[in-house]
């Protein structure tokens, strides 16, 4: 495969070194995997996250996208051995991820995994998510009630329940944690997201699923245990939670109401 665009940074990695046994298949899968870590002012945690990724996922490339941080996020990530992309100003998680997907496509990576820089996501769970990409294009690492310490209540809980029910219907699979940023994408989704990845707040998690489904990608979830955030607990401020609910509803409504580009193209 030859990438015609000018931004090719690495050689393409569609090599077929994987042997018959599962272990070397996993190894070759990891060699074709790009782990993207969107980071905004995460100098305290980004270094250990990168170390942990390299320790648990041998052979992956780790791209830290410094989303316009004012602190030392970029140099901490570089010291830890990550490839670092520095955005000139803050774009939000959606913008940082689209950059990650673009880098992935131009570098010829088949799989892109998103891991948050706050240490909430455990890289040891990535193998299970990559394995699940066998029958799906997007795999969500979902927080389950029983596993980990994550719980929510009030309007935030209603928002998440509403998003789960609606998106489960859209994607025709049971999703319990649609706002999870812990995701793995297969080749079809990587290509799609490098062109179309919503940058709006909540768009990167919610609308991305709608876009993927509309373009014929299949979505699955894999239960994972998540650790509490290193930098404080999720907000339980009821006003903020209510605003979150409202934004979730609006984001989802417009995601579903938006004319599909795939459909428009087919009609032409």
């Amino acid at each position: 495969m030859v990438v015609a665009r000018g931004g090719v940074v690495h050689a393409t990695r569609n090599h077929t070194t994987g042997g018959a046994d599962g272990n070397s298949t996993a190894t070759s899968m990891l060699a074709q995997t790009l782990v993207v870590v969107p980071a905004f002012n995460e100098e305290a945690t980004v270094g250990s996250v990168v170390h942990e990724i390299f320790a648990n996922l041998q052979g992956v490339t780790c791209l830290v996208v410094d989303d316009g941080s004012a602190d030392d996020t970029a140099s901490r990530a570089r010291e830890a051995g990550a490839t670092v992309a520095v955005l000139p100003f803050n774009l939000g998680v959606g913008g940082a991820m689209r950059l990650g997907f673009k880098y992935g496509v131009r570098g010829g990576y088949r799989y892109v995994v998103q891991i948050d820089a706050d240490g909430q996501h455990d890289p040891r769970q990535v193998m299970a998510m990559l394995a699940a990409l066998d029958g799906a294009d997007v795999v969500i690492g979902a927080r389950f009630a029983g596993e980990g310490d994550y719980y929510v209540r009030g309007p935030r809980k209603w928002a998440m329940a509403f998003l789960s029910v609606t998106l489960s219907r859209t994607t025709r699979t049971k999703l319990t944690d649609t706002t999870s940023g812990f995701r793995a994408c297969g080749p079809k989704a990587v290509q799609l997201f490098s062109e179309e990845y919503p940058a709006e707040y909540l768009g990167d998690t919610v609308e991305a699923l709608v876009i993927a489904t509309r373009h014929g990608c299949t979505v699955r979830q894999v239960p994972v245990a998540m650790r509490p955030r290193a930098g404080g607990q999720p907000s339980h401020n009821p006003w903020k939670a209510a605003v979150y609910l409202a934004r979730a509803v609006v984001a989802l409504f417009f995601a579903l109401a938006r004319p599909s580009r795939a459909r428009t193209a087919r009609n032409q």
């Binding site: 774009l91 689209r98 880098y103």
Partner: protein, 127 residues
């Protein structure tokens, strides 16, 4: 209506039109953005020169106080211009975002080209 008021109407319309045309002439304003302001300025000039036209239009539509028609049209134009600006702003933001992403990618590529040792180490990691 006093003569002074009549002149004030015409002068303000001409000043508005003059500003728009001058900005266009100096390329400080693009035609697509100036369109609404030209329409509004011309409308004001026509009404300034011949005020009974407002009266006639108000009667035609059924607006009881002619001044209300003027307010309605003015506000409608301002609202439309605002919506257009919001849409333009959105598309500018989207382009801005793409540029930021491309700059970040180019910056990485430049760094890797300027430090060959880093490039070699990256290659061996993935070979």
């Amino acid at each position: 209506m006093t003569v002074a008021l009549y002149i004030l109407g015409i002068v303000s319309a001409i000043v508005t039109l003059g500003v728009v045309v001058e900005l266009l002439r100096r390329r400080r304003l693009r035609e697509r953005h100036a369109l609404w302001w030209l329409v509004a300025g011309l409308l004001a000039l026509v009404i300034g020169v011949y005020p009974p036209i407002v009266q006639a239009a108000a009667e035609l539509i059924g607006v009881q106080v002619p001044a209300n028609l003027v307010y309605f049209v003015s506000i409608a134009i301002l609202v439309l211009v605002n919506i257009q600006h919001s849409a333009e702003l959105t598309s500018l933001e989207a382009k801005n975002r793409v540029l930021a992403e491309e700059i970040a990618l180019l910056d990485m590529r430049l760094n890797s080209l300027e430090s060959p040792s880093a490039e070699i180490s990256t290659d061996t990691t993935h070979a």
